[in-house]
């Protein structure tokens, strides 16, 4: 009732209930060797006094804090968030809580946060990057398991989970070929990024395997609508027979859509367009709706948490290496005319 400033402890509960702290503990935790009458009495008192056990003390004793660290390079959110959500979800019902640390891409800040996490005795760490470029490992001599999500570690002894961008590029091409397209162009973002390179690799490989040749050079510059518009204008000018474009991101694809429309062509009848990331707000608002590749980031986060969890439970040596998780195609109106 009264907002009690001093937190009520197990000792308080025990003394009010007229038992020892040992018995009170056993009663509240459903342990053996406590009479039903006492158990219920203790429970009643605990409830009445508003007792909440001190997890710090419990952790100190059990040598496990029941917490993990989420070490992110940048809370920019586009890619990090679904992963966090998936991880949260995986631990969900369990009694695990997560520390969120944003290193802001700064190495010393990351080190600082890592230290903080270690002093707080987290049971494990998920490092989630903001791009699929590989990043520096946290090192091998940590007392707790680490899983890298999205951005893989550069040390193959670490376990990394990252989406299979190559397969994403292939998926896009296969879908367009299935739709009967043959003159397929490719416009993507920053060519120094692994995401751009890998998706392009998949694009080229699938084209070659099907015996097709790309329509025009691969155009790689920036992850922006503006670049999508500009590149498309050039591509359409040079290749009048172009009938499909694989974009390296949804944002680029939005620019592509605009430019195709500006040129007097229609989507998907004249030109089919396919994006990448399946960023809900961009793909559903587009006209027509944008077919896109979904990296299943939430599942990636889920898997990362699952792997970490397993590494935390078994002490046995955990898995390692870079795992490429499957991506999937989400079909909308930009590649298939509805009805």
């Amino acid at each position: 009732m009264a907002t009690n400033p001093s937190v009520v402890t197990l000792k308080d509960v025990a003394s009010v209930a007229g038992v020892s702290v040992a018995t009170a503990s056993k009663a509240l935790n459903g342990r053996q060797d406590v009479a039903e009458a006492t158990r219920s009495r203790v429970a009643e008192v605990a409830g009445r006094l508003g007792f909440t056990r001190n997890e710090l003390a419990r952790s100190l004793l059990s040598q496990r804090s029941g917490t993990i660290g989420l070490l992110t390079g940048d809370l920019d959110g586009r890619f990090v968030l679904p992963i966090l959500r998936g991880a949260e979800d995986a631990f969900g019902a369990g009694a695990i809580d997560a520390f969120l640390c944003d290193a802001r891409g700064d190495v010393i800040r990351e080190q600082h946060h890592l230290n903080a996490l270690l002093t707080r005795r987290v049971d494990g760490i998920i490092v989630v990057g903001r791009s699929t470029d590989s990043r520096a490992s946290l090192g091998q001599n940590l007392p707790i398991p680490v899983v890298y999500a999205y951005a893989p570690s550069d040390d193959p002894r670490d376990l990394s989970l990252t989406p299979d961008n190559v397969s994403g590029g292939e998926l896009a091409v296969h879908h367009l070929l299935d739709c009967g397209r043959t003159r397929i162009g490719h416009i993507t973002g920053d060519p120094t990024r692994a995401a751009a390179q890998d998706r392009t690799t998949g694009f080229l490989r699938a084209m070659e395997e099907s015996g097709s040749t790309p329509c025009g050079e691969v155009m790689a510059s920036a992850w922006s609508e503006q670049w999508g518009r500009d590149a498309t204008a050039v591509l359409l000018e040079q290749h009048r027979d172009l009938d499909a474009i694989v974009a390296g991101s949804d944002l680029i694809a939005r620019g592509v859509l605009d430019a195709v429309r500006d040129s007097g062509r229609t989507v998907p009848d004249d030109v089919a367009v396919i994006g990448y990331d399946n960023w809900s707000v961009l793909v559903t608002g587009a006209r027509p709706g944008l077919t896109s590749i979904d990296s299943n980031l939430e599942r990636l986060g889920h898997e990362a948490a699952r792997h970490l969890f397993r590494a935390m439970s078994d002490d046995d040596e955990s898995a390692h290496g870079v795992h490429h998780l499957p991506v999937r195609l989400v079909i909308r109106g930009s590649t298939i005319a509805h009805r």
Copy 2:
């Protein structure tokens, strides 16, 4: 060197350095009454053994965990993330870490997380909502301070920080009037949402104060591009002389831009358009760039953390009530022709 499975404790450091744990503790924490020679010796041993102090034990003793809880309704990210970043930033250099809890809009899950936070003895909680609609209070009989961000608490005894949407609506109108516009329409999202209502209130108030009348009815339906396009088409049909549109969100504004363009008019010459939220990816990619209202969410998160921090330090009764934080106008090409 060797990945030591058993964590090294202060006792280990002390025994290797040939001192008592008390002295070791004092040495590492820069306390009085320890000879310089011993201090450096202890420090050297601690470094060599890879000692990291156990914050759990320290917290247990000091009765403060140095952690806070971030209780969010939905990790959707659009509004939550900047706030989290601001909060992270405010604690930044300090030794405070944050637990991230996603209740997914579920009341019992929120209660579960709240309990978890309490057992972990967090020193305070920031509740960050995903809309500006008010939400149920966590209650008054919590042993720690709570600050509500974005979504205000429905209990005026709580402290809530939320952006001043009314003023945002006014700001938009004033800017358009300054640009010489007189026939101003308003298209916004879900009318059951406080965000839509408040922005509209500001819009109408500013119009009235300036002696103008809105161009057409206020059109409120969904926070989508599609709705922006549809509503704009109707509005332009009914009011050929319309020369500006205030949109309730950037997404709606993007639809407005498209529809204006489709009608053969140009932005901003024929029709000026202004969005809301200043969502970077939407406003910069638009053509022309979209003038928008920025809610300063990062600052809001920063302020929330600052308030919480103060409430955690002083035991004196903290502030309360709903604080409306100022928003700002960000001007781009959709309202002012460049050059």
